[in-house]
């Protein structure tokens, strides 16, 4: 067999081997480049792609109001909700808008709601309490952009 054929076979096999490696890498790409779900960017995109597409309502946003609530750490990091008009309930229950996988949170732990042109954080009689910027929430307190809410072991960030 000629030298050329042997070289071609050799290079062809190496190419095949690398093709496997590259195929695997492309499968796990999201691990390498990060699939961190940023609620601000991905919130409109993900539901549109996965559920039956529904034309999103044009929402009027007031300036200076918080626009999203996102879990900051742990295995659920990135999960969150956009703050529009309706109140948002956070807890372990299946009817909560933000469902926590946290043993230290109650079924319906706390609530964010819009009133008098402002968002408020309210504790729904939870066992372990809700903390806004380190202060225990005993009555509804205003939620500002950049604040962080701690529920059980989970921290949620309020962002624009």
């Amino acid at each position: 067999m000629s030298e050329l054929t042997l070289t071609l076979i050799k290079l062809g096999f190496l190419a095949l081997l690398w093709m496997f490696v590259l195929a695997v890498l492309s499968v796990i790409r999201s691990d390498l480049f990060g699939a961190k779900v940023d609620s601000r960017a991905a919130a409109p995109a993900v539901p549109a792609a996965t559920r039956t597409p529904k034309a999103p309502k044009p929402v009027k946003k007031r300036k200076g109001l918080p626009g999203s609530l996102t879990i900051a750490d742990g295995p659920q990091a990135g999960v969150g909700a956009t703050l529009v008009e309706e109140p948002i309930v956070i807890g372990r229950g299946s009817d909560c808008q933000i469902r926590l996988d946290d043993d230290y949170s109650s079924t319906r732990h706390s609530r964010l709601f819009l009133s008098e042109g402002q968002w408020w954080v309210e504790d729904l009689g939870s066992t372990n309490g809700t903390y806004l910027d380190g202060q225990r929430v005993t009555r509804p307190v205003p939620a500002e952009i950049g604040g962080s809410i701690r529920i059980g072991r989970t921290t949620l960030n309020i962002a624009k």
Partner: protein
Amino acid sequence: MSIASTSVIQIIPRTRRGVELFLLLIAIGVSVGAYVNIGITAQGGVPASTGLYAAGIGLLALIAHLALRFRAPYADPVILPCAVLLNGLGVAMIHRVDLGLTAIGREKGVPFAPQQITWTAVGVVLFLAVIVVIRDHRRLQAFTYTLGLVGLVLLVLPLVPGLGINVNGASIWIRVAGMSFQPGEFAKVCLVIFFAGYLVLKRDVLTLAGRRFLGLDLPRARDLGPILVAWLVSLGVLVFESDLGSSLLFFGLFLFLLYVSTERAGWLIIGGLLFVGGAFFAYSTFGHVHRRITDWLDPFSIDGGQIANGLMGQAWGGVLGRGLGQGRPEFTLYANSDMIISSLAEELGLTGLIAILLVYTLIIERGLRTALGCRDIFGKLIATGLAMSFSLQVFVIVGGVTGLIPLTGLATPFMALGGTSLVANWAIIGLLLRISDQARRPQTPAAPVSDETIAMAVQKQ
């Protein structure tokens, strides 16, 4: 009321079994390609046994794939194809060394390749057993101490008179019914589960108690017990079984899991010091350890030594290798087991070797990824431990063959000739896939959530 107003982001769980099948086909293609390539270059034509080999590897991979499809549909799609590729390439290389050994007239035990395929089949059967029998890895936590005991018994089994045999200075083998086994390979799996179960219970006390010294959190003196026991056991393995590799593997595993579960660097430093002390003691006391180190420092002092031949082969391979079937790996002692990495490097070159090491890295990465995604600490620690046992093993053997560290007799996972190691590795892969199935499965095994149910849930507010 619209669901767009409260768009809760959900991570949509995907099974990805189709992707796995696709990758499996490539992996089988690479393995069969290697076999055919060796036939063309070393035997002068496509060998008649190609069909048999392809059918064997393909069937085993397919069975494993179907088991995952039905029993662990959310398991990681990448781990199985990587394992199949390494196993297939290993068998092809063993076949190639068989041909070489026949050519130079060292035919004792040849051919080894069919034997390795038989062991692969046994390994896949054990893989199926793990996937089918263990439905939930958390059940294993009930057997923490039982498995710890089993692990220790397996570890000392080669020392039982009449049962253990001494091969090349290391007594890590037992002979039962005419076949030899390396019980240490299974002891590794048992001990990983034991370490995980133990640390789940004890990690709080190991993390919280203690005091700071020179900016380091040091544990309390009485909490040092377990690490000292692990150290003594691995030193015992070294002294009585003369097995440097396993000793390093067990101690490294325990130390790493201790660090992962407590997040305290103090353990690593204490463990590192214990290791250095143990290594120095072994170096100055035991002849075989001393010899390993002198071989490592000056491999060319022995004419035709194992490491020297391996290094020559790798150098001859260069960047692109000699091409499959065109090197002379058979001149190296144990070219199909301990030194299989150097045989592969000789024929596939640095390019091929890097690809193989990447495949190992991918398995380890997927193992650690599984640990990250797993929801219970026990599963996290098992996945970490299994991935680390893989990485330690690959590091120790590849480091030894390439001359980075002293060569010790650990099996190259999935590739090296040797039934026990292959079977144990398939069990490890099965366990990893079982945990990753749990980790990637949707949290509530309910019917797919439709728009209506979400809308109803929102309206209830």
